[in-house]
């Protein structure tokens, strides 16, 4: 009897707490936005600039998020090392870029675009190699283990890749060579985008569209979806699950590698520890869109990019919080916790069964 009363008390306490939690968040968002907008410190142009930045950043998140979402869809595991696979791609792209820059390939538009294509190819190759290695060494032996086991192994793989990069390249920050024509402002009304942002958005959307068609239409894509749905039955239908899984890793890694180059071109900085936080944010994007859901990753990525770009200024500067951009990661991580707590199935709903976790 006593225990039951205690149980009911905890339930009530948690409900109250959760509602208070929601109320505070909504209050901060609403009141903060109102105060900021009424304060009139920012012009419409400022907001559009933030939106542009958010879309550009969000496209990169979306590209990385696809890797998380597809691997989660097929293996029900968080590929914690995916951020490092992105980092590997960024480094691969960097070395290709410096070589191409010293050959003078980045100065004019045509050869520059070709050079960027080559950089993306190199980055993809590096990322795919890393992902295949990680899958083979750290994940495949644990395929039937309880869920925490592959996650911990993935954390190990993430550390290994990070500090291998540190051992190879040192802890310094590498600056991508400048691509002059990408720095100019693009003639797009309101958004105030640079050409590099346009390049990022166009590349990301093209790749994601291609991926969507590939997954939905091609035979191999169908095989991947079948294995995600039910490994046992798809094996009975003659689908090689191992091949589908490796292919999923390859696709995810290729997109992450491309994202690495795009990130490098936009922010112009790569270093060994860059993968982990971007990876976590991209994972947030994947969950936000609904994990296992390919269009969801795009939506989640864009949403997170926008929140991170606009959120600190919109929600916090109205309260007189100093240096709000410092808090952009806080907004992203808060978003992460909120999604996981309140809507773990994401905006579009997840396409995975909960059986394993």
């Amino acid at each position: 009897m006593n225990q039951r009363r205690l149980d009911r008390l905890t339930d009530v306490a948690i409900d109250v707490f959760m509602w208070a939690f929601r109320a505070i968040i909504i209050l901060v968002v609403v009141v903060g936005s109102a105060l900021t907008l009424l304060g009139g410190k920012y012009t419409v142009d400022d907001w559009f600039e933030l939106v542009g930045r958010g879309i550009s950043l969000g496209s990169i998140y979306a590209l990385i998020a696809l890797g998380y979402t597809m691997v989660y869809g097929i293996l029900r595991m968080i590929n914690f090392a995916h951020g490092e696979i992105f980092m590997g791609g960024a480094f691969g792209g960097y070395f290709a870029a410096t070589a191409l820059a010293s050959a003078g390939a980045l100065s004019d538009v045509i050869s520059g675009l070709i050079a960027i294509g080559i950089m993306i190819m190199v980055a993809m190759a590096v990322s795919v190699g890393l992902a295949m290695g990680v899958e083979r060494v750290a994940y495949r032996p644990l395929r039937n283990a309880p869920p925490l086991v592959p996650l911990i192994s993935a954390i190990g793989a993430s550390l290994f890749l990070q500090y291998t990069a540190r051992g190879f390249f040192g802890s310094g920050i590498y600056a991508y060579p400048t691509v002059p024509f990408l720095q100019a402002t693009a003639p797009i009304p309101l958004l105030n985008l640079r050409w590099v942002d346009v390049l990022v958005i166009v590349t990301a959307f093209t790749m994601m569209g291609g991926l969507y068609l590939f997954v939905m239409r091609s035979r191999v894509g169908t095989a991947i979806r079948a294995v995600s749905e039910d490994k046992g039955t798809s094996a009975l239908m003659g689908i090689d699950a191992n091949r589908a899984i490796v292919l999923t890793f390859i696709i995810g890694a290729a997109l992450a590698g491309a994202a690495g180059v795009l990130y490098g071109l936009t922010f112009r900085q790569v270093f060994f520890g860059m993968g982990i936080y971007l990876g976590i944010k991209a994972f947030t994007a994947a969950v936000l869109g609904g994990i296992g859901n390919v269009p969801g990753a795009l939506l989640g990525g864009l949403f997170l990019g926008l929140i991170e770009a606009i959120g600190p200024t919109l929600f916090l500067s109205g309260f007189g919080v100093p240096s709000v951009t410092q808090l952009a990661p806080v907004v992203a991580f808060t978003m992460l916790v909120l999604v996981l707590v309140f809507r773990p199935s994401g905006i579009l709903g997840e396409r995975v069964t909960r059986s394993r976790v």
Binding site: Q3, L6, D7, T10, D11, A13, I14, F17, M18, F21, M77, I78, F95, V137, A138, P141, L142, N144, A145, P146, P147, L148, V149, L151, I152, S153, I155, G156, A157, L159, F160, L161, Q162, Y163, T164, R166, G167, F168, F169, G170, Y277, I280, F283, T284, V321, P322, S323, Q326, L327, P329, V330, F333, T334, L336, V337, L340, V341, P344, R354, V357
Partner: protein, 587 residues
Amino acid sequence: MSAAAQPIDQAAPALAGWPLRRLLRLGVIGGAIAVYLCLVGIVPVFAQRALIVHVVSIGQAALLMTYGVFGYLAGRPMAEGSRPRAAAAGVFVGAMTGAFLTGLALVGSVVDLRAVFLNASPELYDLLTDGLGTSGAWVPIATGAVAGGLGGVLVGLPVGARNPLLVGIGSLILFSLFGGLLRTPMLVTPLAGLARFLFGSDGLTVAGAIIVFVSSVAIALIDRRVKPRQRVNAMPATRRRALVAPLVILLLVVVLLFPLAMGDFFAQVIATIALFILLGLGLNITLGLAGLLDLGFVAFYAVGAYTVALLTSNSVLGLAHLGFWEAVPFAIIFAMLFALFLGLPILRIRGDYLAIATLGFGEIIRLLAGSDLLKGILGGPQGIVNIPKPIPVGPNHWLAGPVQIYYIALAFAAVVAFVSWRLRASRLGRSWMAIREDEDVAEGMGINLVQTKLLAYMLGGGFAGLAGAISVGLVGSVFPTSIQLQLSINVVAIVIVGGMGSIPGVILGAVVLVGLPEMFREFTDYRLLFYGVALMAVMIYRPEGLLPSRVARRELHTADELLDMDDADLLAPEELASPHGEEGSSA
């Protein structure tokens, strides 16, 4: 090439039926590992530190070990049938491994690899070719052939000879790495001459190496004859206790007197280990017993640290100017409240999402602590300084410096170990383990999931807060940079590698994973690399950890694997060392 090709040619008539593909594969993997060790910097950095003075550096030893291990692996399946073939296979794979390094040195002498790999320096090539340049290209191949061949010979030896030799090699490495632990106290006693005879300023002297090797082989041989462990196990319980008790007391005395004999550097190292034992025991409740993977454990550590800092600091940020000991209970209480606050929303999330959510919380705390927003309260990047020592004594007092933290941390670790040991056997502890095994079944058995998980989370958080408080006492200041994701991962690694749910496991994990990198400053850069490898290796080969608890062992193996295991293992894992029989007891 010619030097290495010779033994292979001799083996050519016997080539029929050779597992050539397997050997080539081993050679490629070995070569890749050797090149990796060079490029990642382990070989060149540790070339500065001697394993045996003037003979071999740790960096070279790492390469020699690679050759030897791959030679050993190459010879293993053949050792039953024909020993010469096993040795030849070792020579072949060792030489092939070395050939990769030759390749590295030759390529490096033509192309400047430094543009990509920082460590691909001329010094590295000199190290590989023994300073001979391109004309010394045969050096890695020859060394590889010799070391690999030794591995192949070793694997072919009968167990009675092989295991003592392996023990000898193992203790040679251990003594040369950790010789300082013996050398430092010996120098202040009449044994100083002996210390100088055996140990160099780092590593062993040649004479010391021979003595260590011969005596450890001898001890291992005697051990095989006498089988002391089996005899002790066969004794009646009362006699066994009478025999073990003095050993325990001796160990206790050594542990207590350790920092006084070793000086400040080692006291600092052990104080850090003790702090991590404390953190590990805290996470052991959340992760080890209740199965909640918390990647933001550092948040509670931070709460404890900042609480003590704010309450005791003599700087402008100090709030209450309490003494250290008055602040500690507050640190624990606040950390627990904070855990309650975090735990309420997130504990209903499923397992792997929980890990990421806690990681997010940890990051939020770190970013907030360093932000301008809370600068007026927490000091921003400048942190909080001027925190008094727990035991205020003069600079020349024997309790000054890290020594007092060592004792404090050790005392608390003992208390916490006792508490978690008692908790594990309690109703609550069994509920935790039930949840870890299967939430749905546990709930069906009448366990309130949220309450039980919250308690685990809060207790773990409280221990972390305590550790944070003590660490502030050790350092005397706290900065946002001391709240790192690395710290959380460090503690997770300790619990996982040591063995989830196992108290001795946590202690061993802390000693190995924290003590080792602390003792070798060069190792600092490779610490997390090492953790990554350790986490993967433990998950793949030994998911129950190095010193597992009984239940975790059962849980983390699938049903099929359990069928393959010895029943003896499952029933009595505490006596794991002996039931493996001949091989296990002497290794």
